[in-house]
Symmetry: D2
């Protein structure tokens, strides 16, 4: 086992506070006895399981599990126990304190502001359990929003040299050491090397119920087609545009009275709520990726 | 004006009963004064408008309107008034008594029975305001269902000569003189001449939220893509498969625990309710087609 | 542990078929190590856990758990293991084969037929995994429905002696030996002794989103109040009317155009789907009752 | 007719801009010919109706109507025409330019900030078509929010003399001359004289799907009852607490895993969207009050 896929450790080097309990996630090839081994390790550390949600994809042979353990567990003993299971189970695991420091989130956007505005406002009143540590944009429209909330704003315009902008974006992100990067209507495709570097740590919001209306201008195309629902999709970013593992989707009913502007307005509400929901699920360690799909233990 | 698009007159030749009031629908090119002309004609016939729902597509210049008039109107005077408006407005109109005879519905299906079963059961207990006058199928699976409810069953297998089956289907339908034909998971594409003959009087249920998963096996493809919602779409049938004007759509949330069989089961519930809803909207004259889109006055 | 709360054993005395795997549910006071003990017992019997869903109510100290074990487990060894845990954990458990015989469901109704009609039609086409073994009613309206599907119909009219009708209802039910009794718009309150006899095995559908509009005529009262949503609630029946543990609820949006008749029609669709959903959840052993609330492991 | 119920005229005395078209709403006792008279008056002023939505409550005899007229209409002629209909129809009407100045909205809140935060953030990015001209509170928690957005903040603490605070609140509101007052989780009941002064111009958000959980602590009570949905209700404020005409409602599904804190968080999302939706409907003149109920022409 390695704690590699969603590391709970950031630049903050203060010791973790395990007193409120912890969350374990495990992903491994399926075999008989994984739950028994995990539960025994937790019991040995004096831990009481208060939520356990486990799923096996019997076709692919993938095992995924999320466990909440109440406070009072000996985290050091537990970590040793889980490490001992590592080789035998070929498993990835994460172990995160419930009383963890705030996750560091970087928001990328362009000129459409309802998603970044919503995320920052939620964070400011404690309705999204993270710190928005920076707003990064290829445009300047979000600067005022950032200033209102005292969030650092970085403007990375795309000039003649796109690769150069991407290189600088990579540097900026590395310095920020984010737990999560959110593409909140950022209208640029990220380069593959950047996507790889932050695998399963970049969430994008797409303004349609994928796989309908992949690509640009989904509302205009939805209007032309005469659909009666529109939606939004939050997914992890992969090299293949709009094809990453879906975390959350939702829709809203529309009518013939809704023109493209109305659909854009109504859709904005769904985009905001789906994106905020996906971020919460990710931050609470509720999402485990099985290939092109996700398990969401909600 | 002509009463051509959704004729309220079937093989039953008894005089209409206008005593409970009537529904008028109008579709025409937009111009100033249409509502005033219609309302004046209704007032002249002593009619009291109790619901009026009107929409103009200002881009395309299409005018659509649905009006409910309370009992007490002089239907003959009203019909004359509407006829006088015909040439000046280049309009299509329908005028349907609220106390109309039951609409005649023919259901086509193959081997998947939840939709035909639901429609026939609803009709039998008065929850769908129509008579299912026949069940027609290229398979035999629905025969028992038809027998339970005393609905005539016609088996039209597809043998070596597909065109011959289609010709016979056309004959069967012409004899049945349906107000509406419902493709309730009928797994065959209808020939263009048959679609044209019953323009805007054939409703199909597709088991996805179109335009996602056009074509066959939508649930299997939805599972592969890892979507978090599945849906269903009821639309008028046109020559272009799965591209006809959409009447109703709905979705249901799913999770990683739902395999293709679960999605098929959950989707079946949505298919049934969306199809029944679209049929009701059509039968109550609530749907007006504007090119590739519908106005649904619900 | 005892297998008392949702016995999987009915009048059919043929040996269980465990080859397709099995479902275990456990309800007990919370303590450290329950999952470890269960998982160890399953592993000892050669069982592979493919779904595990566990919840602890930390306020009340209740532990609940549902486990799916793949085929290949030695059911006899497993049952012995679970029995050994009985005294130490003070737990109730059930163990049900996935390839179980069809559950026996008795449907009680009065004159409103959309729920019994839907349940019987679903069962007939294999969309609800049970046998409707009888339709029992204080009215005669459902007789034709029962006959269409060859389901035995028992008419138990309420004459001068209500207690006598209830006594006979008790006899009829005892003879039928149902796994589940469904009140599908049955307009009578069951006596306490009958409710007690079938604790957590009687499901009622109430035509409002409880606790709004407890009691009679919810749609009329919803119309008077001018609500914009109506709903339905499926719950286990307890001695306290409309206060039993809720299994499933859903709503539908309405508008000012919907009068009481429209609300009744729209509500009927929600009632049917919520009731069918609750029955499925119950039959798949997905519902565990914690006092006045349910855990639904879906 | 009088333009009394939702005056479009505020302290801004600049002439109205009718060039983009206008919206007419009419509420009157029902009689034959109202639509004809209205449509004739609009036609006489050269107006083209592009949306008309009309409803008659046939039980109560109430007529309500919302009409959108395209640009190019002679507003002065139209106003004269409507005034001429006043006596004969005993109607109330409003006539509002589509290109109107921003509506003035005053937000009242206490210490729960997700609703005021959301409204101000939406307004700032142009997603709610109004100016939040002041934030008024009996607490100080919202001061920082107001400052971020440069919105004037008025603190009106409730000391020993509640009537005095209410008197001052009345003065503050009168000076602000709001088109709409929003109670965004303001935890005080307004005095009857204040409610009367702003009849149908005060919107409250209640954190339950009324009429369930009228009064305080709805989420705690919802948890105790074990409901599977929670919701929110936006309504006009009347003297009778939580009984005003409902404008919008919505719900979200919850599970046994959601404790009161989770329900509060999930409910907050619904509160925000329902409140924003109700405000938009009000500002777009889409709500007509019929006694204790609303017509919402959406």
């Amino acid at each position: 086992m390695t704690a590699s896929d969603s590391p709970a450790v950031g630049p903050d080097t203060s010791p973790e506070d395990w007193s409120k309990g912890l969350i374990i996630t495990v992903r491994s090839p399926d075999r008989v006895g994984i739950v028994a081994s995990l539960a025994a390790a937790i019991q040995s550390a004096g831990g009481n399981i208060i939520e356990l949600d486990q799923h096996t994809d019997v076709v692919e042979g993938d095992f995924g599990c999320r466990i909440e353990v109440a406070g009072g567990v000996d985290a050091e003993v537990l970590a040793r126990g889980l490490d001992e299971l590592r080789a035998s189970l070929s498993a990835n695991y994460t172990m995160t304190p419930i009383a963890r420091r705030q996750s560091r989130v970087v928001v990328l956007c362009s000129s459409t502001l309802h998603c970044p505005s919503d995320l920052i406002a939620r964070s400011a009143i404690g309705q999204l359990d993270c710190d928005v540590v920076a707003l990064v944009s290829d445009q300047t429209a979000a600067r005022e929003l950032a200033q209102r909330y005292g969030v650092p704003f970085t403007h990375l315009p795309i000039g003649d040299d796109r690769a150069e902008q991407e290189r600088r974006l990579g540097e900026v992100l590395d310095e920020l050491a984010p737990d999560l990067i959110v593409l909140a209507r950022y209208m640029r495709v990220l380069p593959a090397w950047l996507v790889d570097r932050y695998e399963h740590r970049i969430i994008n919001i797409h303004h349609s119920f994928l796989p309908a209306f992949v690509g640009s201008n989904p509302y205009a195309r939805a209007h032309t087609r005469g659909v009666k629902i529109i939606g939004a999709t939050a997914h992890y970013v992969t090299a293949d545009l709009d094809a990453g593992p879906i975390i959350a989707q939702d829709v809203v009913h529309i009518s013939h009275r809704d023109d493209v502007a109305d659909m854009t307005r109504r859709g904005a509400d769904i985009e905001r709520s789906v994106l905020a929901s996906a971020i919460r699920l990710h931050l609470e360690q509720r999402v485990i990726v099985f290939g092109a799909r996700t398990c969401v233990f909600d």
